[in-house]
């Protein structure tokens, strides 16, 4: 009896040890590239350029030999990173606002009205998610140039053109996400507000929007991050005046020179807005879950 108990206990201990070892392994794999990025961002250019895996005393090390802040201070020197950063902020904020403003009524209509064509519309929203981005890019680019040629309105390499493009990219998923959030808000709430004399739009604005804030925030942040990270369209449609960080960061390492220290520093700088926004979205998601659980 005693022996069996002890065997069960040692099995449990072994299981715990294995779990912690596995957790450690996962953490190592996840964190290793970040550690290398941070380490690289504090290394001197000379150290990076002279390092050599085949020479014992020159092999790349985790700890910078002469830690320096130069890569951060001079992040803007070889590459106009601050300008790219400004472009990204403007385009991403614009996309965030436009996408939220357009997605909210559309999601509300899908959630509350049983209009003709709702099914077709939902399917067409989802279908856009499946198609390769490159499929639109070529005609989209040619249409841009033609419109500009005929009307004189510049579209390529303008903030407006990029915001419009990214808003449309972010819309399908935003609408689907927001619709499922609104579905969780009982219909009686709209009806109550309308009985109290609100119009439909007023009810949406004064009653539903406050209740749906976590869902709306999640959509807004999704749109921001999508625009911040997009590479394919940015590589073709942005130019001197609207180059975003996602594409601009590649300027640090070119055929003519590799400034890895500067690139790692820039990597950290451009990750910060995304990290902050995502962390705040996590809070909203948790809030939304709790609200759903307590009301349901």
């Amino acid at each position: 009896m005693k022996g069996r108990k002890m065997r069960a206990r040692s099995a449990k201990v072994i299981k715990q040890v294995l779990i912690y070892l596995a957790v450690l392994l996962v953490a190592l794999v996840v964190l290793m590239p970040y550690a290398w990025m941070v380490s690289g961002s504090f290394k001197e250019t000379l150290e990076l350029q002279s390092s050599d895996v085949t020479v014992e005393h020159l092999k790349p090390s985790w700890i910078p030999r002469n830690p320096t802040l130069r890569n951060y201070r001079e992040v803007n020197q070889t590459v106009p990173m601050l300008r790219y950063f400004k472009n990204s902020i403007i385009i991403s904020l614009g996309t965030m606002v436009a996408c939220t403003v357009i997605a909210l009524p559309a999601a509300y209509a899908l959630s509350r009205f049983n209009f003709r064509g709702r099914g077709v519309y939902t399917v067409s929203v989802l279908a856009t998610q499946m198609l390769p981005g490159i499929l639109f890019l070529i005609p989209y680019y040619l249409i841009f140039t033609t419109i500009t040629r005929h009307t004189g309105i510049p579209l390529r390499d303008t903030y407006g053109g990029m915001i419009f493009t990214y808003t449309s990219f972010a819309l399908p998923f935003s609408i689907v996400m927001l619709r499922s959030y609104l579905n969780g808000i009982p219909l009686e709430i709209d009806e109550q507000a309308m009985i109290d004399g609100c119009t439909r739009l007023r009810a949406l604005w004064t009653v539903i929007v406050p209740l749906a804030t976590p869902g709306i925030a999640a959509v807004a942040i999704y749109a921001f991050i999508m625009a911040w990270n997009e590479v394919l369209f940015a590589s073709v449609l942005t130019g001197r005046s609207t180059r975003t960080v996602a594409v601009g960061i590649m300027d640090y390492v070119t055929a003519t020179g590799a400034n890895w220290g500067g690139m790692m520093a820039a990597c950290i700088v451009i990750s910060i807005p995304v990290l902050i926004l995502f962390t705040s979205m996590q809070r909203y998601i948790v809030e939304g879950l709790i609200a759903g659980a307590t009301k349901g």
Binding site: M37, N114, Y121, P132, I134, L135, V231
Partner: protein, 308 residues
């Protein structure tokens, strides 16, 4: 829902007004360009005709034939890119799913620091592509890279391999993609794991089921719907993969690591053969359509009528 169907026409008008902006945006950016894409693929739009591309000469299926003809450089590359993307996708999707499932099961156990770990594994998922893949490019550098440092230190190789040029490039990108991709699988599989009723496991244990039997008889069937969706999304994402190849290998990854997106981009915007680029992007879309349809039909035979 029944209540809604009786609503008056005027209310439907409100609904149409509400979706109108979204419909217009989607038409202008997705559907209208797509239709023009079909048009361009049947016309000889190139550097000479692009200014007035709407009047470019009609060439029928010529762009498709040229784009896929193995005797031409582009055709050979196009066919190779389809092979490359298939190999890449199978490995990346398979590894991403298995690692994601393993970690999801791990994080579903009881241990100290579980909440912290659940947040931590999201890091690769939320890190911008341009950051993650540039860091991996740095790691894979031949002379100054972290990987070769350990390969040499542990005497696994004597000369530092060049990872980002030639045949190894495809595998380097695959490894970086797996690192970035598995957390999403883990995230949604973990959420599904937490929804499995514990009574199922208790009943199974009473009946004397081993841990492996519990895994195959309860866990896997319960994860089925989520797994089907996760793999479907992975297929779409991976076949369209562009960022990781473009960032790690540049505009021209070389034939051994060429994928459709990089080839089409170059064909259109470097070689200025928009017609062939369009034709190839339609081929890519059709292949995706076939794969998705086959995948869903193959699964429908066995799946219950669960909603997605």
């Amino acid at each position: 829902m029944k209540r809604l169907s009786g609503w008056s026409r005027r209310k439907h008008a409100t609904a149409y007004w509400m979706i109108l902006p979204a419909v217009v945006a989607m038409l202008l950016v997705h559907y209208i360009p797509m239709l023009w894409g079909f048009y361009i693929s049947a016309h000889d739009v190139n550097i000479f005709t692009m200014v007035n591309w709407i009047n470019a000469p009609f060439v029928g299926f010529r762009n498709f034939i040229d784009g896929l003809n193995p005797a031409t450089t582009t055709g050979a590359r196009a066919l190779r890119s389809l092979v490359n993307i298939t190999v890449y996708s199978i490995v990346a999707i398979g590894a991403g799913y298995v690692i994601g499932l393993a970690v999801a099961i791990l994080l579903n156990q009881n241990f100290r620091g579980r909440t912290l770990m659940r947040g931590l594994i999201l890091l690769p998922y939320i890190t911008p592509d341009s950051v993650a893949y540039n860091v991996w490019k740095f790691i894979f550098q031949s002379r100054i890279g972290l990987l070769n440092r350990y390969l040499i230190q542990w005497n696994l190789v004597s000369e530092p391999p060049i990872w980002l040029i030639g045949p190894p490039a495809l595998w380097s990108v695959t490894i970086a993609s797996i690192w970035k991709g598995w957390p999403f699988a883990a995230l949604i599989l973990l959420a599904a794991l937490q929804k499995i009723p514990q009574e199922l496991y208790e009943a199974a244990r009473v009946d004397g089921a081993t841990a492996w039997q519990q895994f195959t008889m309860i866990t896997m069937p319960q994860l089925r719907t989520v797994s089907v969706m996760q793999i479907l999304m992975s297929i779409l994402w991976n076949f369209n993969a562009f960022n990781q190849f473009y960032i790690m290998l540049g505009r021209d990854p070389g034939i051994a690591a060429e994928v459709p997106s990089t080839l089409i981009l170059r064909e259109a915007f470097t070689n200025l053969k928009y017609g062939i680029g369009s034709a190839l992007s339609i081929v890519l879309m059709l292949i995706l359509l076939v794969i998705t349809t086959v995948y869903l039909i193959a699964l429908r035979g066995t799946a219950g009528a669960e909603e997605m």
